[in-house]
Symmetry: C2
Subunit: 173 residues, 2 copies
């Protein structure tokens, strides 16, 4: 193994693409994330990694809750332009898509979503630039059948960019 | 959102498939995992979730290091029968595949792998049944170009089973 880290080796890790959303009372926001995983099944817990600079990060630390919508394979690139590359400080993203308030108070994005889940923060792990939020699943719902969008398809076939705040951003790309 | 949790919603989360390996001095072991993610890029850190019952879990807590090999799309089902559904307590899995010892001392599985990385444990998060190990990347290498195997392809096209120790095991499947 080379002691030089080859970023390309890490780009072989597989991910999906999701909207992560949260709220601070009636202020709502969402962003695109790739690093959602289920970490236990008894009880069901999910983990998501978020950059501390992001508004959604601040809302999760306030509300102690988050929602995740699993994006459909057919999600258009315009959806990523809205949710992935603009800050909720500059634009009211939720005003532009179909969503509902979930039982945790989080906005649950339904547009382009196959399913969604809500979670209450159980633990958070400080990683310097990012935080891993681990949540106890509080609700979940399937909207329709379909194929989930993979990060690989977004990157390789849709020519989608990766946000500089993403945990797997590669400065040398 | 239904307060009843629909496990099907969580099965829409996307994963890859990997060999996670570690050692306790000259005792070596590896297992199949799906929940590997990069969590920061400065420095590069990866997280993996492992069931406490697994021998590899014990080895990681001893050596404070782990290796991850990214499996190729063409990995045969027999490889999963060896690495995914047998305990290293009963069989010397590493004696049956091509690997090398990495700079962390971990066995780095090369067989059916596109790339690999080694990491030194930086934090661990206790989740009851499972632990999330977060590691600082110590080395990485690309073996060859190819398409990484996705968990979805393994499950849906190869009819692969999920181990009852996996973090996304579904008792109702």
């Amino acid at each position: 193994m080379s002691v030089e880290l080859d970023q390309e080796a890490f780009s072989n890790l597989s991910y999906g693409l999701y909207v992560l959303s949260s709220h601070d009372e009636d202020s709502l926001n969402g962003q695109i994330v790739n690093s959602v995983i289920q970490v236990t099944y008894d009880p069901i817990r999910v983990a998501v990694t978020v950059n501390k600079k992001n508004l959604t990060h601040r809302y999760i630390t306030k509300s102690r809750a988050f929602a995740i919508s699993v994006l459909d394979h057919s999600t258009p690139i315009s959806f990523f332009e809205l949710f992935g590359f603009r800050s909720g400080r500059d634009v009211d993203k939720l005003s532009k898509v179909r969503f509902k308030r979930g039982i945790t108070g989080c906005p649950v994005v339904e547009e382009n979503a196959l399913s969604a889940m809500e979670a209450l923060v159980f633990k958070e792990v400080d990683l310097g630039t990012h935080t891993i939020f681990i949540g106890n699943a509080a609700a979940s719902e399937i909207f329709r059948e379909g194929e989930p969008l993979s990060y690989q398809y977004y990157r390789d076939d849709m020519n989608g960019d990766t946000s500089p705040t993403a945990p797997n951003f590669s400065p040398v790309d």
